[in-house]
């Protein structure tokens, strides 16, 4: 049984986000790129399953849609323990394109379980996983916080309001995972880092998919309003400020 983990390449979560070109382009200078945290947890769970012989999981592949510059992130996934990787050589502008490209990959090389993070920490779209399932005509389960596989049969736990739900799904399926799927992401061990050198990243050319949406502009959050200290002896100033600056009274 084989698992495919779809990974996205995102700016490190501490990045200060800036835009260029009239707020239509993300400014990537000096940005450190990482595996999307949810995808990293998905990968961790996939590797845990592979480590357990009773699961029947034999291989873990990662797939990414993006240019060659994202290969360091893919190699990180290989260093953490994925067996091999597929990169679709395409720079997507939105989720529909990502899902469509991934679907092509899977149609050509089937997997039993496909894992996607619930969202990517850059655009927070939360749509790739379900679109991908639709393209594949496969069942999808969202908000997955537990995945178990025994003798090839998968049980899935989902968080629902105030509790949990356990479901089983026929393979192949897409599980859209969230926190809880694995405890902590794995740290790449030295051996893994060295082995990553020789693991394969298969580069496939994209199919032609037009985007469904078009970006108009980004709007950075407004800077927090400044805080004005008013002396306790001076209630008049407070009233004045509330009336004329804040215009709330």
């Amino acid at each position: 049984m084989k698992i495919l983990v779809c990974i996205s390449n995102v700016p490190d979560t501490t990045t200060k986000v800036k835009f260029t070109d009239n707020n239509t382009k993300f400014d990537s200078t000096g940005v450190q790129w990482v595996i999307n945290p949810w995808d990293e947890l998905a990968l961790t769970r996939a590797l845990e399953l592979k480590d357990n012989p009773a699961s029947g999981v034999k291989g873990v592949t990662v797939a990414h849609v993006g240019p060659a510059t994202s290969e360091p992130t893919i190699r990180k996934a290989l260093a953490i323990g994925a067996d091999d990787a597929i990169r679709v050589n395409f720079e997507p502008t939105e989720a529909y394109q990502v899902a469509a490209q991934l679907a092509e990959v899977i149609k050509n090389e089937p997997f039993d379980i496909i894992l996607c993070g619930i969202e990517s920490s850059d655009y927070n779209g939360s749509t790739v996983g379900s679109m991908l399932a639709e393209f594949l005509n496969a069942p999808s389960v969202s908000a997955v916080s537990g995945l178990n596989v025994e003798n090839g049969e998968a049980t899935i736990t989902r968080d629902i309001d105030g509790g949990k739900e356990t479901v089983s799904v026929p393979k192949p399926f897409v599980a859209i995972v969230q926190k809880g799927i694995a405890k902590e992401p794995r740290i790449a061990a030295m051996r893994g880092i060295m082995q990553a050198r020789t693991k394969q990243i298969k580069v496939v050319e994209p199919v032609s998919v037009s985007p469904l949406t078009e970006l108009i502009e980004f709007e950075p959050p407004k800077p927090r309003a400044k805080c004005i200290f008013v002396d306790a002896e001076n209630p008049k100033q407070l009233i004045e400020l509330l009336q004329n600056e804040a215009k709330v009274i």
């Binding site: 790449a188 061990a189 030295m190």
Partner: protein, 591 residues
């Protein structure tokens, strides 16, 4: 294979093209990944446990080392045939830098991977390597290094620990006492230095801690690095199999000194990690703490501190990776000449004796400066034991004491540099004499319309001339016993150190600009640092001049030094503000 660009100490007489040096911006993807692994490991296992670690629980620290071992972190410098990962010296230094932010863990880890493991790798025979190094690399064994004794600290060869051959010739019987042994409380192996019979020179032995007669003392109560175990160790008729002698009889002192060279280099990298961590803590605090209605990071006095912290850490980083690549090139050269790989490793490192002493002294003093200002920026909270800044302040202090005190290392800077010149490794005395005999002709050499970096290169050349003149004057005046006048030697050491630092920074920034284009705060750093260095070189030269000469002779020297340390004025306030503003904006050290 890259060739060796500079021999140790040669920077005093030779200039190098910026293209030829290695800068940290050139780390490859794998090196970055390894550093990330170390950072991730510390985030997971070290930083959440700092308070617990500092309670000095031996089992906890040993457990953390074992977890690091699971990731392969204990085998980074060890070749693959001994269960390691055979990484080059630059990568080892990057790992040392990264883990250097780990407080007590950093000391335990560096002790194990460095002085605990490497003597056996470098000097052991294949059997010893297989038996010990392969298990130290996987964490099955934890290592330590036992040189210091109650009566033998800086004077390391004066130890009294004794070994004599048993009657059947199968064992050395070891008796004596060691002191200040890092990892002593839980190490499984010890590299112990002792004198056989009445030998004048030390020999080295591999001792296992659980052998009968080895008694481990309780942990010392220390000012800092409280989580690192430091103990005395007693040897009472310990039977050490003869096959556990490391190297040849009488080779121990050489082993001890070579290993110290490695330790110094790595310490020089450790302090960068600690400094960057402290700077980040300090700027984050300054960006949160308000007084007089504004953030304290808006105050000029705070910006001044932040900028100085950054400049010094950046200089140390520039110098460390510059020399690390030199070391790698030399190791590769030795290997290609057929040298045993272990020996090639240590001989390559020990060759750079001038630089390792510089990096140890300057780096440890840099970190002490940084943690001190870090505390100051935190105000009263800096004095509180609840913040990491207090831990950093206490933990930093040891760096000026171990791996050879800074006093000893200052002497070594001058001694190694002059001895190598005497051996003819480079021509220092020829040009020095020529300059000395023509003091009146010395100018600052300024030419109209010189480019930014040409001006900096001229300054470096001038600083080199100033140092050569002072070395010549010292040897001329003090004769063969010049090393005995330690105050003057310290002046020379300070001048040499400052030169190496500022030149390394200038070369790095020149190379960086050739890759990334001009970035102003880097020039600001170089401008301020050059300006400060010129002053320090001048001050040290003046102190030395008045210590060894007087009258007209002194006047002539003073005038020459003044010209050679003349640099353009810099608006240091504006430059430092720009550097600080960039740090404040990033809210972390990101240079």
């Amino acid at each position: 294979m890259e060739t060796v660009k500079m021999k140790s100490g040669e920077f005093l007489v030779k200039d190098i093209d910026a293209k030829e040096i290695f800068i940290p911006e050139e780390f490859n993807e794998e090196q970055r990944m390894i550093a990330q692994t170390c950072r991730d490991f510390m985030d997971a296992e070290v930083f959440p446990n700092l308070d617990k670690i500092d309670k000095g629980d031996r089992e906890l620290m040993k457990g953390i080392l074992h977890k690091a071992a699971e990731l392969g972190m204990l085998g980074i410098a060890v070749p693959e045939e001994y269960n390691g990962f055979g990484q080059d010296f630059v990568t080892q230094m990057l790992v040392a830098e990264t883990t250097g932010a780990g407080y007590s863990f950093s000391v335990a880890y560096m002790c194990h991977c460095g002085i605990g493991t490497m003597p056996i790798l470098y000097y052991g025979n294949n059997e010893q390597r297989l038996r010990y190094v392969s298990r130290l690399a996987t964490g099955e064994l934890i290592g330590s290094y036992c040189l210091t004794e109650p009566g033998a600290g800086s004077d390391a060869n004066s130890g009294k620990t004794n070994a004599r051959l048993s009657e059947d010739g199968k064992h050395y019987i070891l008796n004596g006492q060691k002191m200040w042994i890092t990892n002593g409380g839980f190490a499984d192996t010890q590299v112990v230095f002792a004198k056989i019979d009445n030998d004048r020179i030390l020999s080295a032995f591999i001792v296992e801690s659980n052998w009968p007669g080895v008694v481990i003392g309780p942990d010392e109560h220390k000012m800092g690095i409280k989580g690192s175990s430091t103990t005395q160790i007693y040897y009472n008729d310990v039977k050490v199999p003869v096959e556990n002698m490391l190297g040849a009889r009488g080779e121990g002192f050489r082993i001890a000194l070579s290993i110290l060279h490695m330790g110094r280099m790595k310490l020089g990298a450790n302090v960068i990690g600690a400094a960057k961590q402290t700077i980040t803590d300090a700027v984050r605090y300054a960006n949160e703490r308000k007084q007089f209605g504004v953030l304290i990071s808006t105050f000029g006095a705070i910006k001044h501190k932040l900028a100085q912290m950054v400049i010094k850490a950046y200089a140390q980083e520039s110098a460390i990776y510059r020399v690390s690549k030199d070391v790698d090139n030399l190791i590769n050269q030795y290997k290609s000449e057929g040298c045993d790989h272990g020996r090639a490793g240590i001989d390559g490192i020990s060759h750079y004796a001038v630089e390792d002493a510089i990096l140890k002294v300057w780096g440890s003093e840099m970190l002490d400066f940084v943690v001190d200002e870090g505390v100051q920026i935190h105000g009263g909270m800096g004095y509180s034991a609840e913040m990491n800044i207090d831990r950093g302040y206490r933990d930093s202090r040891i760096n000026r004491i171990f791996e050879g005190t800074n006093e000893i290392n200052r002497l070594l800077v001058v001694e190694s540099a002059t001895k190598r010149a005497m051996k003819g490794e480079y021509d220092l005395f020829g040009p020095a004499k020529e300059l000395y005999e023509n003091l009146d002709n010395i100018t600052d050499g300024q030419v109209a319309g010189e480019s930014y970096f040409d001006q900096k290169k001229r300054y470096m050349k001038n600083f080199k001339k100033a140092i050569m003149i002072m070395i010549h004057a010292t040897m001329e005046k003090l004769g063969k016993k010049y090393m005995a006048e330690q105050e003057v030697v310290n002046n020379l050491a300070n001048m040499i150190m400052e030169l190496y630092m500022v030149e390394s920074m200038a070369l790095r920034i020149e190379k960086l600009e050739s890759i990334n284009g001009t970035r102003d705060v880097y020039r600001d750093m170089l401008n301020v640092f050059t300006y400060d260095t010129a002053y320090l070189i001048r001050k040290n030269a003046r102190d030395a001049i008045y210590s060894i000469t007087e009258g007209k002779e002194a006047d002539a020297l003073i005038k020459a030094i003044k010209n050679l340390t003349h640099v353009e004025g810099v608006n240091t306030m504006a430059a430092r503000r720009r550097i600080a503003d960039r740090l404040i904006e990033d809210n972390e050290y990101k240079f």
